[in-house]
């Protein structure tokens, strides 16, 4: 009886771990896509509205879906309440925000790089930088999709199968 319960627990835990790992693969392209739409909004606001960054962050924190709105809320608070310079606020927000997402280092680098150019140029150059970041993100997104296709299912079944293996070994 105890054996039964133990093996069920192991099976449950390893399946859950597999699902979690699979979710990381599933969420990453989705989150990169969110970033791309955020950058597109930023572009439109800068080109047509000349909206300053703190206002932009405020707007996007309301417009963007979870989890990206958290980033812009962080950014807004750093700019408005702590009154940090934009570059510093951007880096801080990225560092705080990243661990809670499924995104990896390459996207982070792109966003950090983009942060160093935001607000330092006129609208035309700003647009070029946004386009560049968008192109990079697009590439990362397709990479993420590929690895999602090859890994997501594998992770899910791997979790379950590892559980079975461990149980068989113990028995």
């Amino acid at each position: 009886m105890i054996k039964m319960i133990g093996s069920l627990l192991i099976l449950f835990a390893s399946t859950a771990a597999g699902l979690l790992l699979a979710r990381r693969f599933r969420d990453r392209p989705r989150e990169i896509r969110q970033w791309r739409s955020a950058l597109q909004s930023i572009e439109a606001e800068i080109i047509y509205g000349r909206v300053p960054v703190d206002q932009l962050a405020e707007d996007l924190s309301r417009q963007m879906p979870e989890p990206l709105n958290v980033f812009f809320t962080l950014l807004r608070d750093q700019l408005r309440i702590k009154r940090l310079p934009l570059q510093e606020a951007w880096i801080n927000s990225v560092e705080q925000f990243w661990p809670s997402t499924s995104m990896k280092v390459p996207e982070k680098e792109i966003i950090l790089q983009f942060g160093t150019t935001l607000g330092t140029e006129d609208a035309d150059n700003q647009k070029k930088h946004i386009q560049l970041a968008l192109a990079h993100l697009e590439r990362e997104e397709s990479n993420a999709r590929q690895s999602q296709q090859s890994n997501e299912k594998m992770m899910r079944s791997l979790g379950f199968l590892t559980g079975i293996l461990v149980i068989l070994l113990f028995i």
Binding site: P52, V53, D54, L79, P85, G119, T120, D122, Q126
Partner: protein
């Protein structure tokens, strides 16, 4: 003052906070030049700290940061300002900018490396124009008035206060308030931030901010039906044509122009037709006087032929 301080580097803030109260209240300009020490202008002359402290030097990095702060870390919002060469910030203060200019087809495209800053503190002097009222108001109407003065003589201050008096009215003298329109090409009279005037201008004032004067005057006359129209620094030939239009449309105009004397001004090709047509009823010539380190101003009032009517002198603060 409190609106300005957050923009400045820490060391500059310290200097200004340590200034004696009296001098700080008379601070007119804060000038920052890259690789040069900070310069403070107090009532028209350079201020030197009493206790032998050296003025801190303005570094290249600080210049970059100052510009970033002015644009709220969004330089693209300053495009128009970088073309005009100045920014108006909260509180109506003006920051003049200079540096390397990028041109296109011989016209200024914008400033690129902004290395010189001149922060001009806006001080609205409520009541500055009161001595003028008896000369400029009669038989229930305000006269068409041209204020003449060299830079820094307080033309704009005077004009701003006139605008306030016109739109508020003066109850003690039974002067009713009027619909007032200000065409504020250089955002100096009203000191608008996002279209909202930062200075006290009375409740019946409409402001066309950052609008070219000639077009703005016509727009205002057509759309806002002002009784008194106020413009700063007329001088171009377009302005003259628009002024003719306005003055003939029955709108009272109050304007300023750069110049030292009436005679000198009336020689200017763009102003001469206005003087000859006697469109202005009063000319007020302003000149700066210093009374033992206090900034003051001498006002000379001329009638429509340029004959002297009266002169008054006043001390500010």
């Amino acid at each position: 003052m409190n609106e300005i301080l957050p923009y400045l580097p820490e060391s500059f803030q310290q200097i200004i906070l340590r200034m004696p109260e009296k001098e700080r209240s008379m601070l007119e300009e804060i000038r920052c030049r890259t690789d040069r020490p900070l310069e403070l202008i107090v009532s028209g002359s350079q201020w030197v700290p009493g206790d032998n402290t050296r003025m801190p030097t303005f570094s290249r990095e600080q210049a970059r940061q100052l510009l970033q702060k002015i644009g709220k870390y969004s330089l693209y919002t300053l495009e128009e300002e970088l073309k005009r060469g100045y920014v108006t910030i909260q509180g109506g203060h003006r920051i003049g900018l200079a540096g390397r200019v990028i041109t296109e087809h011989g016209h200024v495209l914008r400033l690129r490396d902004v290395t010189f800053f001149n922060i001009r503190l806006a001080k609205q002097k409520i009541g500055a124009a009161l001595p003028l009222v008896p000369f400029l108001y009669s038989h229930r109407r305000w006269f068409n008035t041209l204020l003449i003065g060299a830079p820094q003589t307080g033309k704009t201050t005077m004009l701003r206060d006139l605008a306030r008096l016109v739109s508020e009215g003066i109850e003690e003298r039974y002067i009713a308030s009027r619909k007032t329109a200000i065409v504020d090409e250089r955002s100096e009279i009203a000191g608008c931030v996002n279209g909202v005037p930062q200075n006290r201008l009375g409740i019946r004032t409409d402001v066309m901010d950052a609008c070219p004067k000639a077009e703005g005057m016509m727009m205002m006359i057509r759309s806002m039906s002002p009784e008194v129209l106020i413009v700063d620094e007329i001088g171009g030939s377009d302005d003259t044509a628009a002024l003719f239009e306005a003055l003939n449309a029955g709108v009272t105009v109050m304007a300023t122009a750069h110049g030292f004397t009436f005679d000198q001004l009336s020689q200017r090709p763009s102003i001469r037709p206005l003087v000859n047509a006697q469109l202005f009823d009063r000319y007020v010539v302003l000149s700066r006087r210093n009374y033992s380190n206090q900034a003051g101003c001498r006002l000379t009032i001329l009638d429509q032929l340029g004959r002297k009517m009266s002169a008054t002198e006043g001390i500010w603060q």
